[in-house]
């Protein structure tokens, strides 16, 4: 943990890339497409229900990644600490839920 955390403090504050809007436009379109696919899968109705659920989950995960990466800037440099903390949060919550389900209520 120590190595890449070095000088993170100043990095978070100062690093605001002046990249063009293209990537954000693409991300925005991608978000909308993901949403449309999800809507369409439900609206179409004819599709197998369990397939729809899996599709929705996949779309949701992709959506979260786009949101975090582009709009919360987690893909940029200097965001290691938020990523670490979020990952640990998922880990703690996941441990609690999975352990409770599969060890404790075996």
């Amino acid at each position: 943990m120590s190595e890449h955390n070095t000088n993170q403090g100043s990095a978070v504050r100062h690093r605001h890339r002046t990249e063009g809007p293209q990537k954000h436009v693409i991300a925005f379109i991608f978000s909308i497409v993901l949403t449309l696919i999800a809507f369409a899968a439900v609206a179409a109705g004819g599709v197998n229900a369990s397939f729809t659920i899996i599709l929705l989950v996949v779309m949701a995960v992709l959506q979260v990644l786009v949101q975090l990466g582009y709009w919360m800037h987690l893909k940029d440099k200097g965001h290691m600490i938020p990523i670490l903390f979020m990952a640990f949060g998922f880990f703690v919550a996941g441990t609690a839920v999975i352990t409770a389900l599969y060890w404790v209520w075996w």
Binding site: S2, G9, S10, F88, G89, F91, W103
Partner: protein
């Protein structure tokens, strides 16, 4: 002041109610924490007095249940946690070369919500009886079926409000350590106390949401008639135990890690050596925090989780002994060959090591699931957790208070009284709790309000009570020391221990409100020691002298907390008009804070030079 806008500066009581200065908030935490610590201590003495002889009738069984519940809850949530925050506030910004915490306003808000939560919990004594279901509030004992009075409601609502303050404080210190370090202060150059404060804050961030959810569910069950823990309606009482301990076990690491940090700062200073194995200390701290989230079910071996869960939680629990052992050996190797001075602070630190090891060893014993069936809910457990919390954390707190008292108040605590207090406290401590191991093994159950004669419990309980009284004397000697010292002139030098290694000793005691006239340049671990060894008497500044930006004082955090307090009290008694009123007060304050831009104010360079304060 050269600036056009003048700043209203409060004095007296108003200054303390509105302050956003981390040093003053640290003192507020210290006073409030000491107050609750005193209340919890009196409750402890009453418990011990009831148990001094068989069939005693000093208090009734009901009062005894209230006493043990409030002793545990008060000590953990309202006593030692604020004292930890007191040290963190007083020291962490100074150790990283910062002028304040990242969010001074939130710092104040965190303190006031904690205080009002604590007050709400404690007024239960005067409002129909305190909580009486144990500090763990296990369901179904804590549901309305078995706790019909409002006692446990005070527990759920009071802890919810106090927990809000703790969460705010934890997030604040995370942001502070990540973003406010002075130039050159890399993560691996941070003093150990700052490291442990950082990791403790991270544990708070991940553990407190669990208790928040648990308390919401329990208060919904009790106040709104929900059925989360009600078996007859499909609920599950064991669920509460899981939620409580998913929070509760990380909580004990929240408590002990800052004590580890204090010891890791005190021992190098008074052994005149750099800390042995600094990077392994950092690694061990992180590992303890990490493993701390995977062991909660060892509190529940006897609930019938089955052999798989019991075995795996046993192993994960025993694993924690590894990083803890690394720490113990590092402290011993730091002392090894050092020029040791046994000041009061170092006495407490040296007393901490063997005492904490004893608590750790009984911890490993308890981690063994088959043996735990024998130990569970006996005085063995009581002895174990008092060894780690009192013998660990409280000794660490006293060590830290003696060590940093001059930095907080400008006066060095009296060494003679400090040592007398230490000997009373540590001898009393071992008398009280060492014998409880044997009481537990002989079969004395935890939380019983009295016992029959002729079971071999009589003498050991008497010894235990005598020890508790000695601990009380030790604490009184400390208070006497504070009074005596406060009457002396505030003449502590920058570095009263002369061997200070970290940044806080490079500035006056107590520091000016802006801490550092010029932000220091950090050139290595033990930044101030490094400068001393290079022949310098002060830190190299990292910036020219300039105006210093300061946050504005504000009464809003206090008013917001009053609003939450009123709303909480109303919720308990189903007075939803009162709830609405309290929440309106809080939300109006939030709106004012959000809509009104407060840019703070500046201290001019001339003003800082007049005081003759160097970086």
């Amino acid at each position: 002041m050269a600036h056009a806008h003048s700043v209203k500066r409060h004095t007296g009581l108003m200054d303390w109610l509105t302050t956003v200065d981390h040093k003053k908030i640290g003192i507020l935490y210290l006073i409030a924490g000491a107050l609750f610590f005193g209340i919890g201590g009196i409750e402890a003495l009453m418990i011990r007095w009831q148990l001094i002889k068989p069939m005693n009738d000093f208090v009734s069984a009901q009062t005894f249940n209230e006493l043990i519940t409030m002793h545990g809850t008060t000590m953990i949530f309202l006593g030692v946690m604020p004292l930890i925050f007191a040290l963190m506030n007083a020291v962490v910004p100074l150790q990283i070369g910062a002028r304040d915490v990242a969010f001074p306003f939130l710092n104040s808000l965190g303190f006031w919500t904690f205080l009002f939560g604590g007050i709400l919990l404690n007024i239960s004594w005067m409002m129909g009886g305190a909580p009486d279901a144990g500090w763990t509030a296990y369901t179904p004992l804590s549901t309305t079926a078995y706790s019909g009075t409002h006692g446990v409601d005070f527990y759920t609502v009071g802890l919810q409000i106090a927990g809000l303050g703790t969460l705010i404080g934890g997030i604040n210190f995370l942001a502070t350590v990540i973003t406010m370090r002075a130039p050159g202060m890399t993560f691996m150059r941070m003093p150990m106390f700052t490291w442990t404060a950082f990791i403790t804050s991270a544990i708070i961030l991940f553990a407190f949401p669990a208790i928040t959810v648990g308390l919401v569910l329990l208060s919904f069950d009790r106040i709104l008639g929900a059925n989360f823990f009600e078996v007859s309606n499909g609920g599950n009482p064991v669920l509460w135990q899981h939620i409580f301990w998913i929070f509760g076990h990380p909580e004990v690491y929240i408590l002990i890690l800052p004590a580890f940090g204090v010891i890791s700062d005190v021992i190098p200073t008074f052994a005149r050596k750099r800390l042995f194995g600094y990077s392994s200390m950092v690694f061990a701290t992180i590992l303890i925090a990490f493993l701390g989230f995977m062991v909660w079910a060892h509190h529940m071996f006897t609930t019938g989780m089955g052999p798989v869960a019991n075995a795996l939680f046993s192993i994960s629990t025993m694993l924690i002994a590894v990083p803890t052992g690394i720490k113990i050996f590092n402290w011993l190797f730091t002392l090894w060959g050092g020029q040791i001075r046994f000041t009061s602070a170092n006495l407490y630190a040296s007393g901490f090591i063997p005492t904490f090891v004893m608590g750790g060893v009984t911890g490993v014993m308890l981690a063994s699931a088959p043996a735990d069936y024998q130990f569970h809910d006996t005085y063995f457990v009581v002895a174990h957790f008092h060894y780690v919390i009192v013998g660990g954390l409280v000794l660490g707190l006293f060590s830290g208070l003696h060590y940093w008292w001059p930095k907080m108040f400008g006066r060095v605590l009296d060494e003679k009284l400090g040592k007398i207090g230490f000997w009373f406290f540590i001898i009393g401590f071992h008398l009280t709790f060492f014998v409880q191991h044997f009481l537990g093994l002989m079969g004395m159950q935890r939380r019983i309000f009295t016992y029959l004669p002729g079971q071999g419990f009589d003498t050991l309980n008497l010894v235990s009570t005598v020890g508790a009284l000695m601990m009380g004397v030790g604490v009184l000697v400390f208070l006497l020391n504070v009074v005596v010292t406060t009457r002396r002139p505030a003449d502590a030098p920058n570095d009263p221990w002369e061997d200070g290694r970290t940044l806080e000793w490079s500035i006056p005691s107590p520091p000016p409100e802006y801490n550092f006239k010029q932000t220091p340049l950090v050139r290595g671990l033990d930044a101030y020691w490094k400068e001393k060894m290079a022949g310098h008497t002060e830190m190299t500044p990292a910036e020219p002298v300039g105006p210093i930006h300061m946050p504005s004082a504000s009464i809003l955090p206090f008013v917001m907390s009053v609003g939450i307090f009123v709303a909480g009290l109303g919720f308990m008694y189903h007075q939803y008009l009162v709830v609405g009123l309290g929440l309106i007060v809080t939300f109006v304050c939030m709106a004012i804070r959000s809509l009104y831009d407060d840019h703070g104010w500046h201290i001019d360079p001339e003003e800082t030079t007049e005081k003759g304060v160097k970086a």
